[in-house]
Structures are given as structure tokens and as C-alpha cells.
């Protein structure tokens, strides 16, 4: 696979971010996942991303469903409120939280069973509804917490640890997210932090439904030969279409690139997504051609990764509902209750 040069920001010699916080301030409780579980690497990438973006931990809410993946919000951002809800329903819970207070950043963490099996409906509808969120699926192709049954993203023909072959068509969440109107779509690999961190940063600074499918091997139940979600398999078939840097509005753009090599997309919040192309024919702002490209490569057995689609003009559910700027959970009784006079009018209209 094509590894990416470590971008400057990652250099460990920067112990504090602009808020004066260190990475430690973004950590959570000690993980209880299996040693080597891909999910723990994603937690680390989330910590890195939030730290680099200088997010105030308490201004972010962590939502999840049920599963090993859904346990992880307890293992990062300990100063953020977290909600480990019920299986497959994180999207609706996140939607409600977002409606209550549009000012926080909403990070949804889920698993492939949680989002593609029981939760497929909510996954799809939260995206088409345009909820402003960073939705990450930690995709290992199995139900980890219930000990390794195939999930809906497990590829047809992939073998279980017991040697059973999956006979059902695997669901490609990236293809569905595109189809359903996600305005920021990426795919990555838990083993590729350099690619993953900028993708998460971009998703967190995106205004609209941002979805990232992160292949995250389950070392306990799905990391054997014959599995299409094992570390080895993913490394061999990983095909990155671009590499991303997220540049916050404030940071000046220094490095210069050969023309054509770089594509810049400025988002609502002023942040800039700088994409270094790895495939000339790939345009991450053209949804239809992107979808087509993904299907063709998928048919070739490739796992296409990178920032696959972004719509810089994205809007969110609040824009569509024309919700007031002030968070709904902060409206005062005066703003909420029309009062006795208005009620008298209503009474009159009912006689």
C-alpha cells in the first residue's frame, strides 16, 4: 500500500495545542478491548485529531451504539459527555442531541454490525436527513462483542475463523453513504494513522453529514487468512486515491506544489482541505464519477481509501429546518411559552 509522508503537524515535538492542552487531556479511561484491536488505533487517531484541531473537549459529544467499537468513546476524550446508547440506534440519538444544541461537535462511533446490520435504516436516514456529524464506522466485518459472527459488511466469500464462508452480499457503506447524500465521505484503515487523522479532522470540521468507513481488524475473531478484513489483506488491497491535509483557516499555506498535483477545497467554517492527488482521474467533488470509480475498483477487489467525496457547499438539518441560532436547550421560558394573552386569542378562535 502507499504510505503517506508524516505531515508536520504530527511531529511529537509539539506537546501543546493552541488551547495549551496536551494529548493526555484528550485521553479517556484505559481501554478494555483486546490487545491489538484495530479500534484502539482509531481511538488514538480521534485523540490526535481533536488535539490537533484544538477542540475544547467539553464542546464535543461522543455518541455510540453497542459493540466493542461502541465501547470506545469511554476510552477517549474523557472531558466530553458520552452516550453509549442501544444497538444500532446511535444515529437517531445523535440526531436528537444535535437538534437540542447545534453548537457542539457530534462524533458518532459505531461498528459494522451496529450500522450495517441492525442499524442500516438509521444510518441511511440520518445521512439523508443531513445531520451535522462525524460518523465513523469501525468496520471489522464481524460482531466482535458477541464473538465473531459475520456482519453485513463481511464480503461474500470471506471466511470465518471457523472456516465458514459468507454467502451473503456484503454491504458497502461508502457506496450507500454517497447514494444517500453524505456530503463528506472517506474510507481508511485503522493501521494507517497518517491517512486516518486528517480524514477525521476534515470530518469534524465539515458542516453536514460526514461519514468515514474505517477498516479495523478484529484480532480476536477476524484477522486470519481468508478474511478480507485482516491486517494483511487490507494492506495488500488498499488503494489510496489521494492524501489529505486539513488546514485551519488561520494557518497560512506555506508549502508549494506542482500545479495539478494539488486540489484545495475550502469548507464553510473556513478550514481548507488540501488534497494531493494519487490518481489523476479521480475527482472527489464529482459524486457520480466517484461512485462509478469505486464500483469499478471494488469489482477489481481493491479497497479504495482516501477522501472519496466532499461537497464544500454542504448544508445541514438545522439549515433545512431554519432553526434559531441559539441552542434550543438554552431557550428561556419567555422564549418558549407564548403566555396567557396568546392563549386567550386561541380560546376565542375555538368558540
Amino acid at each position: 500500500m502507499t504510505y503517506i509522508v508524516k505531515p508536520k503537524l504530527h511531529h511529537p515535538s509539539l506537546p501543546k495545542n493552541e488551547l495549551g492542552l496536551t494529548r493526555r487531556d484528550y485521553e479517556g479511561r484505559v481501554s478494555t478491548l483486546c490487545a491489538g484491536c484495530g479500534h484502539d488505533s482509531i481511538s488514538a487517531a480521534i485523540i490526535q485529531s481533536a488535539w490537533e484541531l484544538g477542540i475544547e473537549p467539553h464542546r464535543l459529544a461522543k455518541m455510540s451504539g453497542i459493540g466493542c467499537s461502541s465501547k470506545t468513546p469511554d476510552y477517549f476524550l474523557g472531558q466530553s459527555h458520552g452516550f453509549n446508547s442501544v444497538h444500532g440506534r446511535m444515529p437517531s440519538v445523535l440526531t436528537g442531541a444535535n437538534l437540542a444544541n447545534r453548537d457542539l461537535i457530534y462524533l458518532g462511533v459505531s461498528g459494522d454490525g451496529d450500522s450495517a446490520s441492525i442499524g442500516l435504516g438509521q444510518f441511511a436516514h440520518s445521512i439523508r436527513r443531513g445531520v451535522n456529524m462525524a460518523y465513523i464506522v469501525e468496520n471489522n466485518g464481524v460482531y466482535g462483542l458477541t464473538k465473531g459472527q459475520f456482519s453485513a459488511t463481511s464480503d461474500k466469500g470471506s471466511k470465518s475463523k471457523k472456516g465458514l464462508e459468507n454467502t451473503e452480499n456484503g454491504i458497502d457503506l461508502v457506496a450507500l453513504a454517497l447514494q444517500l447524500g453524505a456530503t463528506y465521505v472517506g474510507r481508511s484503515f485503522s493501521g494507517d494513522k497518517e491517512q486516518l487523522v486528517p480524514l477525521i479532522k476534515g470530518a469534524m470540521s465539515h458542516h453536514g453529514p460526514a461519514f468515514i468507513d474505517v477498516i479495523s481488524p478484529c484480532v480476536a475473531f477476524n484477522n486470519h487468512a481468508g478474511s478480507t478484513k485482516s491486517f494483511d489483506y487490507v494492506r495488500e488491497h488498499n488503494e489510496a486515491v489521494n492524501r489529505l491535509d486539513v488546514i485551519l483557516g488561520r494557518t497560512p499555506i506555506t508549502t508549494s506544489y506542482a500545479p495539478g498535483e494539488v486540489r484545495e477545497v475550502t469548507q464553510h467554517d473556513g478550514s481548507t482541505l488540501r488534497l494531493r492527488k494519487l490518481h489523476d482521474d479521480y475527482d472527489p467533488t464529482n459524486k457520480i464519477s466517484a461512485a462509478n470509480y469505486l464500483q469499478e475498483r471494488h469489482a477489481q477487489g481493491e479497497i479504495v481509501t482516501g477522501l472519496l467525496y466532499v461537497d464544500p457547499e454542504a448544508t445541514d438539518l438545522h439549515d433545512r429546518l431554519e432553526t434559531t441560532a441559539k441552542p434550543l436547550n438554552r431557550l428561556s421560558a419567555a422564549e418558549l411559552t407564548p403566555g396567557a394573552a396568546a392563549l386567550a386569542k386561541i380560546n376565542a378562535s375555538l368558540r
Binding site: 452516550f83 436528537g96 457542539l104 407564548p338 380560546n347
Partner: protein, 630 residues
């Protein structure tokens, strides 16, 4: 007598034919129509006109689970005495739907009246000789007056209202006024409708005499309003400060969400058009309650409205709300169950499910409004209770309350009233280092403090989960932590019993050891029945239960009586079960009076059922419209 009856025929007296019913401001009129035929507005006009004459009316629309072509009925109970429940029986039938003619005619009380479209003669066999028949050639009259089929159809409805207005003495000026109000936006329609009205009225005036059922202007209505429970509950939610509504369409709850939407557009929209609310029509009921739970967790007042099938689907989330202690409000507008059941019929049969919804040991708070007036007050109160108790609160309406217009006292609101957000730690409290343990019972009432996300940079954050945890919200699988938490939840439930609205007592004229317990839409029919029973010498203290858990007054009432009739509109005596389980009441003292065929309970049914029960004080476990062997 001719072998068919036709225009204006008045059936002459016969041995078997009882004298025509005679009554002033006290009778029942029932219209039978086809849905989608436009009869609804004409029937509504009829009812509203009587109300404008100052005479109390209870109008009920009985409609099918279908959009066009199936039978509907509109029952107008006229009661100068102000009885707004169903009485039972029909004094004047207006069957305009051939599909249901036979049943409609059968229902008429002996001596009652049959008003029908006599355009094409019907065989005598289609009538009864113990009733009084009034034929008006509605079709003929309208076909003569109008060209367009649509017009002929539509105006026929206003036309029969015109004819009836003559027969039972509705004030024409009142009709004129109502038409002006209704068509204020399309004034062209006013004269057209008025003409159709007079078309019928004039024909009747020429051919017929008024009947024995007469209206007389009165002041019994006072300043009461005429409104549906769903609209009232929606308005209650607005006044209660609800900001997030997530819902999925289902009869009979749909109009509650739609009502909330229009009230918000009107009352909660800023000058610049921005909305101080968020309403999402979700993909289903699970998503709806999920959104509500998410919003409640994040400090907004949120609700959903649904009916039985939705409650079934919401079970898992209801358990999460109970165990993770997240405020949420559900309006359950009950319909005929089980399964899809009778979507357009009324019942009180979700009580047991709502009370103990979800797996494991759970108990939930329910409010039981009896009319649109209480839908408004409880609709607002539910949000205070839910925030205070940090748990789900059900408001249990039914189709009869939710989708029928009721005559109730005007809504009232005290501008001094404060919203109670319950136990929420502020930034200041956290800053000053006040103790915060998410699941710690600091006040010995079982209710812990919570924090809203985003309150403080370094204090007050906690991790919410549906799994067992300790008092500090840390994950724990220890039996002692689990049991400690479950006992606190039980204590909280007992606290709830002290906060919910208490029952309403209706004392008998004389001291008695006999009591009755009832709730919800049963109230008006029950009150009428109690009056009659009292007159018959049956003295009964009656208690209207308004919430679950039951507060002490309910148990005291039971202890204070030997024999208690529990009146419910379901098959399985669900309220009785709740009284036994929660109060440890001896079932032998609770007699069930059950009515559950999907039609609203009637005063006459109650008079019979309770009367019989009391006459023969046998220890039969249950009495229903038909014997029931449970």
C-alpha cells in the same frame, strides 16, 4: 299504507307505533355517510350551529381506516343538561349511506325518527313500524338545482342540514354567521352554501311539520371552547416548553404532531423566520423515540406522539430512558388493539404495556387526561415531571379524546408559572466544586443530579450507558452496585407518586361503602351514569384516577369502601391489574366494568352494568357488554 314510502310521507299512527319521541335540547342525532363525500363539513356545521345556540353538544365522528368510499358516522349528542359522553341509542337517524342502511335503521329508539333521501322510493320492508319516517327527496332537489355532479354531491349535504334545521328548529341566522366565519377567505362560497341550506329548509317548511325533538336557545354553553384533544395536547407541549418533536405518522396520533407544527409556526417563529423549535418526521417510531432520548439527554424538552404499535416498537428505548434516567415524553393516543387492530376505533388498552414497558424490572409514569382541557394542562405538566424525575412520562390519550371535538372550559395559563428543569448542575455549581455524582441519591428522594453536555471545560462530564454502573456513573458489573441502583430507581418511582396529579373525588349524596374508579374518556358518560344511578337510589363515591403511580389518596379511597367498580375501556381490566400489583389490593374487592368493542362507552351501558352489579351483589369477577369468562 302504500307499499313504498316516498316524499314527505308521514307514517300515520298504528297500534304498534309508539308515540313520537318528544324532547327539548336532549336527544341524539346520528348521520351515516360515505367517507370522502364531503359530508363532514356539513355535519360539523350542524353541530356547531347547535352550540352557537348555547346548547351543549358532544359530537363524535366514527370513521373507517380508509381514505374514500367506506362508511362513516357522525353522532351528535344534544344535552342541555351538559352531558358530553355518549348516551347510547339514536333518536333521529339520518342514514345517507345505502351500505349501512339496515344497521342504521335498526339502531333507532322506538318512537324515534328516520330522516332519509326519498328520491327513489324504498320498499316498506326497509323501514320499521315503530318509528317515524321523514322522507326528503334530497337528490331530486339538488339535481334540479345544480348541473355539475360535484356540486350536486356537495350541496346535497348542506341541503339536508337545511331541511333538518326546520324540523328541529336550528336558527338560520346562526348558520349564516357560521358560513361567514368558515368561508371568510372565499366569500364567494357563502351565498352558494346559504342557498343550498335554504333549498332544503324551504322544501321542508313547505312539506313537513317540525318533529318532537326541538332545540331552544340557551346559555348552557357559556364561554366554553370546542376543541380536539390532540390539538390541546399539542398546545400544552408548546406551553410546556417542548422544543424537539420527532414523530412518525399513525392514526389517531398524527394530528397531534401536525397541531404542534402549526402552533409552533404561529407562536414560536421569530420575526426573521427562524424557528424556536425543531420538528422531524422520522423514518419510524424507533428513530422517533431515539431522537427524543438524544434531545432529552442534551437538555432539550422533547416528545413523540404515537399509538399502540409505536409503543411496542419503542420498548427498547423506553427501557434505556428508565435505566439511564433520561427525560422523554410520549403521547400515546390509544386505539383498538392488539396488533393493527382497529386503527380508527377507541380503547384504553395500552395501560399495562406502558406501565411496565421494556424487558427487565421497569415502572413508568403515566398521566391520564379525561378531556382536551386536561390534555392541555397535562401536556405541559408532563415535561416538568419528566425533567424532575429524569425518566419517561407517558400521556395516555385515546382516539375519543384525541380526534373528537369536545366542549371544555377555556385553556388557562398563569404567566407567573416557572418551568421546572429538575436537578441540573450549573457551570457555577461545578466551578465552585460542588459534589456531582451522576447516580448518587443526594436528596434521599431517589433523584440524582445531571449535567448538560458542554457545561464546564473540566468538570461534570460523565458517560451515559444502558449497562449497570456505580453511583459515579463508572461501569460496574458488581451485584451490589446494580442492586443499589435498582433500589434507588424504585425509590424514585415512589417519589413520583407524590408529584403526579392526584385523583378527583365525586362524592355520593349519601355516605356509602360503594365506590367506583374510572379514568380518561370514560368520565362524561360515567358522570351521567352516576347521576341516574343516584336517582335510582344507588349511592356511589367515584374517584377519577389521573396518574400512575397511584398516590396515597387512591389507596385510601379503596380502603374506605367495601365494593369498588373499576371502569375501563379494555378487555383485560388493565387498571385493576395495576391497582393490585402496586397497591397490594385484594382483587375480590375490585369489580371490573369493561367496555371494549372500540366504540366510546355510553352512559346507558354503565347504568345497566353497574346497576345490575349492585342489584345483585354477586362476586362475579367481571361484567362486560357480553359475558366474559376470564
Amino acid at each position: 299504507m302504500p307499499d313504498t314510502l316516498s316524499d314527505g310521507t308521514r307514517t300515520e299512527a298504528s297500534a304498534s307505533r309508539p308515540a313520537p319521541l318528544v324532547a327539548v335540547n336532549d336527544f341524539v342525532v346520528k348521520f351515516a355517510n360515505v367517507n370522502g363525500s364531503g359530508s363532514a363539513s356539513a355535519n360539523g356545521l350542524f353541530a356547531k350551529a347547535i352550540i352557537r345556540m348555547g346548547v351543549p353538544v358532544a359530537a363524535r365522528n366514527i370513521f373507517p381506516s380508509n381514505i374514500q368510499g367506506l362508511p362513516t358516522w357522525y353522532e351528535v349528542r344534544v344535552s342541555g343538561a351538559g352531558h358530553l359522553g355518549r348516551r347510547g341509542g339514536v333518536d333521529l337517524a339520518v342514514p345517507l349511506n345505502p351500505q349501512t342502511w339496515d344497521d342504521d335503521v335498526k339502531e333507532i329508539s322506538p318512537g324515534g325518527y328516520l330522516f332519509y333521501d326519498s328520491t327513489k322510493p324504498l320498499p316498506v320492508s326497509k323501514f320499521r313500524d315503530d318509528i317515524h319516517v321523514i322522507g326528503v327527496p334530497l337528490t331530486a332537489i339538488c339535481n334540479e338545482a345544480y348541473k355539475l355532479p360535484r356540486e350536486r354531491q356537495l350541496f346535497k349535504n348542506i341541503c339536508y342540514v337545511g331541511a333538518l334545521s326546520w324540523l328541529i328548529n336550528i336558527d338560520p341566522p346562526v348558520i349564516e354567521l357560521l358560513l361567514h366565519e368558515e368561508f371568510a377567505s372565499k366569500p364567494k362560497l357563502i351565498p352558494a352554501n346559504l342557498a343550498a341550506f335554504n333549498l332544503g329548509r324551504d322544501w321542508a317548511k313547505r312539506q313537513l311539520n317540525p318533529i318532537g325533538l326541538q332545540l331552544q336557545t340557551s346559555d348552557a354553553v357559556g364561554n366554553r371552547i370546542f376543541v380536539e384533544g390532540n390539538a390541546a395536547a399539542a398546545l400544552g407541549a408548546v406551553y410546556g416548553g417542548a422544543t424537539v418533536c420527532a414523530w412518525y405518522p399513525i392514526t389517531p396520533s398524527t394530528s397531534l404532531a401536525e397541531g404542534f407544527t402549526s402552533y409552533c409556526e404561529e407562536l414560536r417563529t421569530d420575526a426573521d423566520g427562524s424557528a424556536n423549535y425543531a420538528i422531524v418526521q422520522c423514518e419510524d417510531e424507533i428513530a422517533s423515540i431515539g431522537v427524543v432520548v438524544g434531545a432529552g439527554w442534551n437538555g432539550a424538552r422533547a416528545f413523540t406522539c404515537t399509538s399502540g404499535p409505536g409503543i411496542s416498537l419503542m420498548n427498547e428505548f423506553i427501557g434505556l430512558s428508565y435505566f439511564a434516567e433520561i427525560p422523554a415524553v410520549i403521547f400515546d393516543v390509544q386505539r383498538g388493539g392488539p396488533s393493527t387492530g382497529m386503527p380508527t376505533r377507541t380503547q384504553q388498552s395500552d395501560l399495562l404495556l406502558a406501565a411496565y414497558a421494556s424487558h427487565g424490572d421497569t415502572k413508568h409514569v403515566m398521566l391520564l387526561p379525561a378531556d382536551p382541557g386536561e390534555c392541555f394542562t397535562m401536556g405541559a405538566q408532563a415535561f416538568d415531571l419528566s425533567d424532575r424525575l429524569q425518566t419517561i412520562v407517558f400521556v395516555m390519550l385515546d382516539l375519543d379524546i384525541g380526534m373528537q371535538e369536545w366542549l371544555v372550559e377555556p385553556f388557562q395559563w398563569d404567566d407567573a408559572k416557572q418551568i421546572d428543569r429538575g436537578k441540573v448542575m450549573t457551570t457555577e455549581q461545578l466551578e465552585t466544586g460542588e459534589f456531582f455524582g451522576r447516580y448518587t441519591d443526594v436528596d434521599d428522594d431517589g433523584i440524582p443530579f445531571r449535567t448538560y453536555p458542554g457545561t464546564h471545560p473540566t468538570k461534570g462530564a460523565y458517560f451515559t450507558r444502558g449497562t449497570s454502573r456505580n453511583r459515579m456513573a463508572g461501569y460496574s458489573e458488581k451485584g451490589v452496585d446494580y442492586q443499589d441502583n435498582m433500589e434507588r430507581l424504585l425509590k424514585k418511582f415512589h417519589t413520583a407518586a407524590t408529584l403526579v396529579p392526584g385523583p378527583v373525588l365525586r362524592q355520593a349524596a349519601e355516605k356509602t361503602r360503594i365506590g367506583a374508579i374510572y379514568f380518561g374518556s370514560t368520565a362524561p358518560a360515567m358522570h351521567e351514569a352516576l347521576e341516574t344511578l343516584e336517582a335510582q337510589g344507588h349511592h356511589i363515591d367515584a374517584l377519577r384516577v389521573r396518574a400512575f403511580p397511584f398516590n396515597q389518596e387512591v389507596y385510601d379511597f379503596i380502603t374506605a369502601h367495601d365494593e369498588i367498580c373499576v371502569v375501563e375501556q379494555n378487555r383485560d381490566a388493565q387498571l385493576r391489574s395495576l391497582l393490585m400489583i402496586e397497591g397490594g389490593i385484594n382483587p375480590a374487592r375490585l369489580t371490573s366494568i369493561l367496555h371494549y368493542d372500540g366504540t366510546p362507552i355510553t352512559a346507558r351501558f354503565l347504568i345497566d352494568a353497574i346497576g345490575n352489579r349492585l342489584d345483585a351483589l354477586k362476586a362475579t369477577r367481571q361484567v362486560t357488554t357480553k359475558a366474559d369468562k376470564q
